[in-house]
Symmetry: C2
Subunit: 472 residues, 2 copies
Amino acid sequence: MASLNVKDLPRPAPKALAGAIEALAARFGNRLVTSQAVREQHAHTTTWLRRQPPDAVVMAQETKDIQDVVRICAKHRVPVIAFGTGTSLEGQVNAPAGGVCIDLRDMNRVLSVHAEDLDCVIEPGVTRKALNEYLRDQGLFFPIDPGADASIGGMASTRASGTNAVRYGTIRDNVLALKVVRGDGEIISTGTRARKSSAGYDLTHLFIGAEGTLGIISEITLKLRGIPETMAAAACSFATVEDACKATILAIQTGIPVARIELLNAAQVHACNLYSKLTLPETPLLLLEFHGTEAEVAAQSQSFAEIANDCDARGFEWTTRPEDRTRLWQARHDAYWAARALRPGTEALTSDVCVPISRLAECVVETERDLEAIGMASPIVGHVGDGNFHVLLFCDVNDADEIRRVEGFLDRLVRRALAMDGTCTGEHGIGQGKQKYLETELGPEAVAAMRALKAALDPQNIFNPGKIVPVD
Amino acid sequence: MASLNVKDLPRPAPKALAGAIEALAARFGNRLVTSQAVREQHAHTTTWLRRQPPDAVVMAQETKDIQDVVRICAKHRVPVIAFGTGTSLEGQVNAPAGGVCIDLRDMNRVLSVHAEDLDCVIEPGVTRKALNEYLRDQGLFFPIDPGADASIGGMASTRASGTNAVRYGTIRDNVLALKVVRGDGEIISTGTRARKSSAGYDLTHLFIGAEGTLGIISEITLKLRGIPETMAAAACSFATVEDACKATILAIQTGIPVARIELLNAAQVHACNLYSKLTLPETPLLLLEFHGTEAEVAAQSQSFAEIANDCDARGFEWTTRPEDRTRLWQARHDAYWAARALRPGTEALTSDVCVPISRLAECVVETERDLEAIGMASPIVGHVGDGNFHVLLFCDVNDADEIRRVEGFLDRLVRRALAMDGTCTGEHGIGQGKQKYLETELGPEAVAAMRALKAALDPQNIFNPGKIVPVD
């Protein structure tokens, strides 16, 4: 029952905690919040994991605030947990050892945009939608779209990706440099605005995906793209998941630069039909987006149509009209809420795995069979160009039997992906929920290396303790 | 004089070294080589740095060999230096503290190719040309091309890139996973064949660019691409470096997916004309390559021709015929030898920096002026789509005054790039030659973090000591 019942860890001595909170109150006044409701909110995650609220929340407004919180907490050896929008899925913002949450939502300034260099420098609380709003007039955009309007600091910390990754890469491929507040409150600068560098160890990529366990990101330099001249959407139904995956593999192999290619299984299409009042055939569906000049987009969709046809697609609908694009993609954007509406009142949790694309069909089909066997017709959506997919599960957390069935399923899902040379998480991260699989996936040597890195950069173990590789 | 006169570091105790070599001789027989000539060869770098040969060389044939060398050396606290093809440029294979070189050239097997997944698993001694030869029949290629036929283990270790990076990324973007032999001879596995993962700290990218200072890479999983249907080459002369850079910026901003876009300055074109018997106008030249379908390539080159015209280009020549492509690119491929032929008999060294593309013209023009001021009309070639360029310098190392002038120039080159928010090396690495700039570029906090990482993963300091961040 490890997934659901997260462990509490040893808390700071009451006197140490009181000392830290007193110092924080003196420094931050009413920007230090200790009310039950606010603490609970900051332990909220879109998961079934039990909430473990921090002892206090500081609303940070600038880098100096992060530095001071870290210095005060380090002095008293109290944990520090960074918080963006709380949309993480594996318990990344829980506080199993208590401590102080730094809420970064007000650090939401775009510090500079360099249009000629296609980059910008931002604070970590900027959300992806706010950034794209800001950039639109300059004809630029930031392509990473994990669905939720997450903060970019949070996306960097969980190594997020999403629907556009097949063309534009994950956040890992789109961060040029970071500033990170380390344990003594000083700032590590990991890079410059140069597009590439061979100068020393790759600190940028070490902090990306570290879930705030090695320091707090205070500034991010991002790569940007020019907004494509034309965007077209397409939808295509298939008789089987295998056919849909085969079409995906052929598209990737042929080198069609699809911007998005998303699989919805029959259960998800059913949920979307109900929720969004659509009449899509309730069979596996691929939703696609093409970006480029008008001619490029036409050529791409023509090439894909031929592939789809060879893979026995049932119709291929495509459009460049914005309103039709929106209509087609609405189902995908609402997929999570549509799925949740299938069984209101229960906890919903989503888990993700990622496998080499040649194994994807097999992995999805076996997963569907497994769902059938436990009596759950759960929706599956996949960023299939990357071999990454999500299962949304429902669980009545008062029903011990259902909990057991869901946990058994999650365990088999991960082991199935690992057996196919895949990973236990393509984009949600390890957090608390997937710690037990890290060693299964990479072996004890990799986990030992991760522990050594954690000890090297956070010797006091104050940064988000109990995540990724807990230190005893 | 730090660049030229590399420091010797404390060597292992003679008894320890003798013990290690005795154990290695017993294990490896005539695959352990201690002759002066072979040791000298393994300290050879294409640079002016003084050679610091290892005490012995082991010709490794399989992973077990690397493990055994590391175990024996660790037991006796003797340094271990990995060697691929010896084409590194900043003294990465020198042995300033002596020790044992592991020559990986015979670990050159392609272990598996997964065409559907566009990936392969190889040993570190496979060279990029050998790999592409191997893949060609399957319609696949590995796009990273640093010029030299380097080993892919070496390319991973120096975080190499080259002419194709503007479209396909650097080696960093094209490695999915590594196996790395750690200090006790056990193997760290950093990832799976999944296209993306959020599972724990990014060990893969920590070892990429670590120059063998954190462990020895024994296996590499690479991303591959389908060979494009059509490739076209183009050449375009400009009156000024500014015009050439302006055209480059516009091409990148417009989103033309150029596969290569290389700048040759007038001095380099002059060298190429002499060496390759060409009659190119001796003004700044852009060489381009376009990849895609026939229609895509035609559209890309048409778009670029319009941009070039707006930037006062003097003629735009393009072709899809293989023999014409070869002719156009021959000049670029021979650039290094053409440049060296300008002043035979002297040492030649090449240094690289990388700046945001908006500062590139300014940086190249100031560098050209600096070269004039020290009386050297040195060739410059640039991967200008990335803002990265190289200067080739000649130096009579018996002329103290010339050494001083060259060292002064190199210092100003790096400081100029850093002042423009660039990096002291885009793709050659830190090695020994650029250590003094790491702190100037990133600050003492980043260097302290790097030292902490080195101590965490190589507590005995046996892996390539004296490189990147020397430990006292």
